[in-house]
């Protein structure tokens, strides 16, 4: 409970200080992210891959993107899982600390957007804690909540596939976190214009 007291005088890594210093002004950039993870428990489960796209001025910037597969050899070994997909993947492979550092440098002070983004944020917070950093300070938007707000639905959650169907976004047969991030980004653009968010 008094965890924060322990950290109060602790020295944070350099990249984290730079990150914190960016929050002086408000950002116009959105970062749409999607992750693959082993489960939803932030302390027992780990991130397997991270994909993200930036949205500026209502357009998705394909060049301003982030993709990484995380080498979670320890976790996979402990749980006796195969690491086949990591080997096959053509994406850049990073260890967890490297990936988290790169990702923090990528997002800067942008607004994070995702589908059920709270789980993702928790996963990042857990990973950041392991690196001796604080919690993410970015604002976060959830496209499921945006959709429910648009239609005043309170009693139901929508999966990414359901949302894609509603907004007529073609679902690709290639399933990956980049694919999901791209779809989320399109959904975000559509919802954003419908909700009139600047």
């Amino acid at each position: 409970m008094l965890d924060w007291l322990k950290h109060i005088n602790k020295e944070h890594p350099e990249f984290w200080k730079t990150y914190i210093s960016k929050f002086g002004s408000k950002s116009k950039r959105y970062v749409i992210l999607s992750t693959e993870k082993t489960g939803l428990n932030p302390h027992n489960d780990v991130l397997l891959s991270i994909s993200a796209f930036a949205v500026v001025n209502d357009s998705i910037l394909i060049s301003d993107s982030f993709e990484a597969v995380l080498l979670q050899y320890k976790y996979l070994h402990d749980n006796q899982l195969s690491n086949e997909f990591i080997i096959e993947s053509k994406l850049p492979k990073l260890s967890e600390p490297e990936a988290i550092k790169a990702f923090i440098e990528f997002i800067e002070n942008a607004v994070l957007v995702g589908h059920h983004v709270d789980f993702d944020v928790e996963m990042f917070n857990a990973a950041l804690e392991r690196l001796g950093c604080g919690r993410l300070k970015n604002e976060a938007l959830d496209i499921d909540i945006m959709h429910r707000k648009l239609h005043d639905i309170t009693d139901k959650q929508f999966s990414l596939d359901e949302l894609s169907q509603i907004y007529k976004i073609p679902i690709s047969d290639r399933n990956s976190s980049s694919e999901d991030a791209y779809r989320t980004a399109l959904l975000f653009l559509k919802l954003k214009s419908r909700l009139g968010i600047k």
Binding site: D58, S59, I60, L61, I62, S63, R174, S178, K190, R194
Partner: protein, 638 residues
């Protein structure tokens, strides 16, 4: 390498000009693309907006390009999936000359010019493609032989300027003329001309043109008997030959023809008669260059050799219809022209199949049924047709039927390629059921009319609107006789038709509100086809059959004729005729706007005045309904 960039590169690869680039290059472009989502009716750029740093490609949805003339928006072009637009920043520095607006919610790729320019510089084919399409006006874009999936649209000339612009445009002409030597025999040359459907041949010596033989020479010098057809061709050719340089303009060609009183010009490399022959320009080419004139279209249909060419012509017909409607040419007139052209296309499709399969083993008639049969097809709708062949000896029946089934299949496939969808109910000559001998058809009509509703074979009323496309007139007459003989005092049949006509859902609610679709993708749209047009069509047919109006298939004409035959109710009929025209026009406009059959009308987009007009057009149907109920005393079924 980014996964999504790879997907985008996959998409780009499908369309010109990107198909000229390697996947590596495409990936590089794709990695720098921006993806935009445009909500419906959102403007991407406007006339006089400063240029963007990119051009655009449609990924999904529909973008319309407009020019504004006299405070009116004119659609220049519609950009579908894969189309490229907004190329202006490539070639010009001044502001946009048109407006791009999303017609539907669309996803658009913005391709930065800075990224794309190096590829253009290194690849001549890409540059040519872009230049050609940037400079082309809409008419040329559509008629050009470039049948690739995309049509780049960057039209900056709109109708007002078009007339002058095209006067100086380069002509497209036949670059593959018949070339014969001076000692060729006239008979052989004539044979060659007949086979290639060309009306001229160039006579040359040592590859230099020395004269020209045309239809006129053939008829005035051979057919009159002045020379026999075995003389050599140099005796009858017209000299001197008029030669022009390759990129001659329309105006110049026209002047040369008038000045020299010739119908053909020979194109040579340097414009003199001492160089290599490049092609021949005929008067026909001049006419084509000037307009999408219906006569020209029909002539071209008769000459076309493939479904591809027919498709081009059908596309131009759509332009013609659109222009005619905007110019307020009476709809009946447009209908006539459009149906003549449609018929010519179908006829040519049948002919092409016959050329392929060999001549038919028996006489036959190919009838268009449904809206085509009524000559009311303005938009591309599905094809409905039946095939009737004359009775043959029993032992030959199988073989003959096989042939005609093949003919039907081939023709419907050709038509499908041209753009007429196959009928979802299979009402086509390629269907076993609707490709039968005359006797079988007579039996079929007898059964339909004398025992309607029986045999579960639901009576499809479209079979009573038919029109001969190609084949024996006598066969059609025979069917007509059967229909009207059976119709005499056939209460049961009229009951059936009457109920069929009245069963359609009413268009307005009790409170005079439009009844709109309640679910599906057309939610809140008004179904003008089933709710407004079909009842009129069905009733017109019903009355026409009962009053013995033989040979009038068109709904409008049927009502007009009815007003004469049944003067007591002439007012109702005339109102219906007018209403029918108004409704058809609404449907056609909607269809042109969305490139579909126009069945569903979006009421939200209509102005108040138009809505009132539409409502007024629905009123006459009520009176007509009463008339049907009185006249046919619909009791047996209701």
């Amino acid at each position: 390498m980014n996964t999504i960039a790879e997907h985008i590169a996959d998409f780009l690869k499908e369309y010109a000009p990107f198909d000229q680039l390697t996947f590596q290059e495409l990936s590089e472009i794709a990695a720098n693309i921006r993806v935009l989502n445009l909500e419906k009716n959102k403007t991407l750029f406007q006339i006089n907006d400063p240029l963007h740093d990119c051009f655009y490609m449609v990924n999904s949805g529909l973008i319309n390009l407009y020019a504004i003339a006299d405070a009116e928006e004119t659609i220049l072009s519609k950009c579908h999936e894969g189309a490229i637009f907004g190329l202006r920043p490539f070639f010009a520095k001044n502001n946009y000359m048109m407006t791009a607006k999303a017609r539907e919610e669309s996803i658009v790729y913005a391709i930065p010019i800075a990224v794309f320019r190096p590829f253009v510089a290194n690849n001549a084919a890409v540059l040519d493609f872009l230049l050609e399409n940037f400079a082309a006006n809409s008419q040329q874009t559509k008629t050009s032989q470039n049948l690739g999936k995309s049509i780049i649209s960057d039209t900056v000339f709109y109708s007002d300027q078009k007339a002058e612009m095209q006067f100086f445009q380069a002509l497209s002409y036949n670059s593959n003329p018949i070339v014969v030597t001076a000692d060729a025999i006239v008979k052989d040359v004539a044979q060659l001309m007949a086979e290639t459907l060309l009306n001229s041949a160039i006579v040359c010596e040592n590859n230099m043109p020395i004269g020209m033989v045309t239809h006129t020479d053939m008829s005035s010098k051979i057919a009159t008997g002045r020379y026999t057809n075995t003389v050599s061709v140099d005796t009858i050719m017209s000299t001197p030959i008029i030669t022009v340089i390759e990129n001659v303009s329309l105006a110049e060609a026209q002047l040369l023809m008038l000045k020299n009183n010739v119908t053909h010009l020979c194109v040579t490399q340097d414009g003199t008669n001492k160089s290599v022959i490049k092609g021949v320009i005929s008067e026909h080419d001049l006419v084509i260059a000037q307009a999408n004139n219906p006569g020209v279209l029909i002539k071209e249909i008769k000459r076309s050799q493939s479904s591809k060419e027919l498709k081009q012509i059908r596309l131009r017909l759509a332009d013609l219809i659109q222009n005619s409607i905007f110019k307020n040419i009476p709809l009946t007139h447009i209908n006539n022209i459009a149906s003549e052209i449609n018929f010519a296309i179908i006829k040519r499709a049948v002919e092409l199949s016959i050329l392929d399969l060999g001549s038919p083993p028996a006489r036959f008639a190919w009838l268009s049924i449904g809206s085509q049969g009524r000559k009311e097809q303005l938009l591309l709708t599905d094809q409905d047709s039946i095939l009737i062949f004359e009775d043959v000896a029993a032992e030959k029946y199988r073989e003959v039927k096989d042939y005609f089934l093949k003919l039907g299949k081939k023709t419907t496939l050709t038509l499908e390629k041209v753009g007429y969808e196959l009928c979802p109910n299979g009402h086509m000559g390629s269907n076993m059921l609707w490709c039968k001998s005359l006797t079988d058809w007579v039996k079929q009509y007898d059964a339909w009319m004398n025992t309607p509703g029986e045999n579960s074979n639901e009576l499809s009323s479209i079979f009573f609107d038919y029109e001969l496309v190609i084949g024996e007139q006598k066969i059609e007459d025979a069917i007509t006789n059967v229909v009207f003989r059976n119709a005499k005092n056939n209460t049961l049949f009229f009951d059936f038709l009457g109920n069929d006509a009245l069963r359609k859902n009413s268009p307005l609610s009790f409170f005079k509100k439009f009844i709109v679709e309640e679910e599906g993708i057309y939610k809140d749209f008004f179904d003008i086809k089933t709710r407004a047009l079909m009842p009129l069509v069905d009733s017109a047919r019903l009355f026409a059959l009962s009053y013995d109006l033989i040979g009038i298939n068109n709904t409008y004409l049927r009502f007009k004729q009815l007003a004469i035959t049944d003067p007591k109710h002439s007012e109702i009929y005339l109102n219906c005729a007018e209403a029918f025209l108004t409704l058809s026009k609404f449907r056609t406009l909607e269809g042109l706007k969305n490139d579909d059959s126009g069945q569903y009308i979006n009421l939200e987009e209509m102005s108040k005045i138009d809505k009132e007009k539409l409502k007024n057009a629905l009123a006459p149907m009520k009176e007509l309904e009463e008339l049907i109920k009185n006249k046919f005393q619909l009791t047996q079924f209701s």
